[in-house]
Symmetry: C2
Subunit: 337 residues, 2 copies
């Protein structure tokens, strides 16, 4: 079986660390691993399959001989993705830099796997909140069509990186001791608080995070008629995102039918037994690859509607796992140079 | 000016303590204060206007001579509200026991003050999440009509009482130290977690909390045609509730118009300046009486729709303040015996 030279860009960050774990767990066919990061993190050591690797600073030449380059996100993508692509690597990019480019596929393997085939050197990994929402929306879309989605998110701090996790923990300790801990990663205190502001504000006073959920979902479904409105909120949770999703379908789909369809859907685990107090929660999704769906209800306010409560590990399916799954698909479809 | 003998039932709990504070702050015309609680809390001391009061066990006779009885909520209402009423007290009840009774007004002073007038001895205080939502919905309802509301809540632990606040704090300390802290008040760990389950499950797998937001809102607005669907979620926040509210209006109302209308609305404070990172958050609403509204946006998925982000102190406007405001209205309308 063919093996690949794999670069992980941002290998010391929250997503990069998770990519290394996922590559190892899934026994990804790695011939040579090249962990890369900013100058600040170069020299640090990361671990993969029992071996210790010294992280090198990312430079254009770092991608010589690399066949698959997994970019964890952030500024490195704009700076180095084209350099990696020019050197023949298939770039799988977790940043938002290329997601809406017409010549870049945006892929969630459970939803639009075939889009991997037409890549031109870069495949984009969607925003974490988008991935987590579209996995359960797909079987509903196929069964009944979707007219409109109203989504409110409850996003963990991990979405803002490893420093954000440290900030939540340290700030929570401080608040419990009656001490000050000025925010550095977030605009305000996140301990015991909520911040209805993720990424920058854009048109109509929606944040970029909110527009991502609209625009990326349309691209993944190849359906510009999909109506989606989003409110995205940071919550004091460490690493799993949750979403309250209201779906207006084109055809009637009962909660019972939706539960059955979702139970058979790839990448979805239905946890929905109110009598037994079973529903998805961040503490249950931690370190899991699936998207957990529960609180599946007929919308009492609408003839053709459903309410869902969706939870998934933002660092796994929301980032690292989805990226590695894309790489696996590219190998399966023989579209790695 | 007439003064009143006032009983506070549940005076040692989270809401009861807040009622005492609000009575004092608003200089409520108290002649004699009678703090009551369960046998377990009897004998404890509470403070009011510099005086120390020993809490007595609630009994039917406790209400002899009482003119206004503020019930903080819980089981005491079903047990003693009728006894208080029979003795001539005006009962203002924060429990869910009487809210949907046809002969009991359910009042939010900014929305339906006149309903106080037809009370028959009991006036119900709505559920906290309902109060916080209807205060900003009222001016929108009056200006443009409301067809449908999709609401997702982010509810603080204070809604589950003083023991719940202690549980969040102690459990958070334990989790940060890698220790176990089995849940007692909540069905699962709430520290760094979310629980999409508040109150018991009822028809269509909605919780009672979710149905309260539907049924109480219709009663307060005297409009059974109002379509509302709710998903209620407990979050690790100490005492302010937040809500992501999507409103479909009957007539077009732009975000700009909504912002202007809400700025003039009683009990509402608009905090909505994205460029300056101004939006409502739990830490800003703490100990305040107003409902804070921000992230006011035209719904990008609908011709006539708005998104709002609403935050208020659950123990203040969500409970104690609203109850005391009802008592003030009853005095103003001369409908206290």
């Amino acid at each position: 079986m063919r093996q690949f030279n794999v670069a992980v860009v941002g290998a010391t960050g929250a997503v990069g660390q998770e990519i290394l774990k996922v590559l190892e767990e899934r026994n990804f066919p790695v011939r040579e691993l090249r962990p890369l990061a900013t100058a600040r993190s170069a020299g640090r050591v990361v671990y993969f399959k029992g071996g210790a690797y010294t992280v090198e600073e990312t430079r254009p030449e770092s991608f010589e001989g690399v066949e698959i380059a997994l970019f964890a996100g952030g500024a490195a993508s704009k700076e180095f993705a084209l350099a990696a692509k020019e050197r023949g690597a298939l770039v799988i990019d977790n940043s938002s830099a290329f997601r809406l480019e017409p010549d870049v596929p945006l892929v969630v393997p459970e939803v639009n796997p075939e889009d991997v085939k037409w890549h031109k050197g870069i495949i984009a990994n969607p925003n974490c909140s988008t991935i987590i929402m579209v996995v359960p929306l797909k079987p509903i879309y196929d069964a009944a069509g979707i007219k409109r989605v109203v989504v409110s998110t409850y996003q963990a701090v991990s979405g803002a990186g490893a420093a954000a996790i440290k900030e939540l923990e340290a700030q929570t300790r401080a608040v419990l001791s009656g001490q000050e801990y000025p925010p550095q990663v977030f605009p305000y205190q996140i301990a015991f608080n909520l911040i209805p502001h993720i990424d920058v504000f854009q048109e109509l006073d929606y944040t970029k995070e909110e527009w991502k959920m609209v625009k990326e979902t349309r691209k993944i479904f190849h359906d510009d008629s999909l109506s989606i409105t989003a409110t995205t909120v940071r919550v004091p949770v460490i690493r799993c995102h949750s979403e309250s999703v209201n779906v207006e379908t084109k055809e009637k789909l009962t909660a019972k039918e939706a539960r059955e369809i979702l139970s058979r859907a790839p990448g979805v685990v239905v946890v929905d037994d109110p009598a037994a107090k079973k529903y998805p929660m961040p503490i249950l999704a931690y370190d899991k690859d699936e998207v957990f769906v529960g609180r599946i209800r007929d919308d009492n306010s609408l003839d053709k509607g459903l309410n869902l409560w969706v939870v998934a590990d933002q660092l796994r399916k929301g980032a690292a796992t989805n990226a590695v799954q894309i790489a696996e698909l590219a190998i399966k479809y023989s579209c790695v140079k």
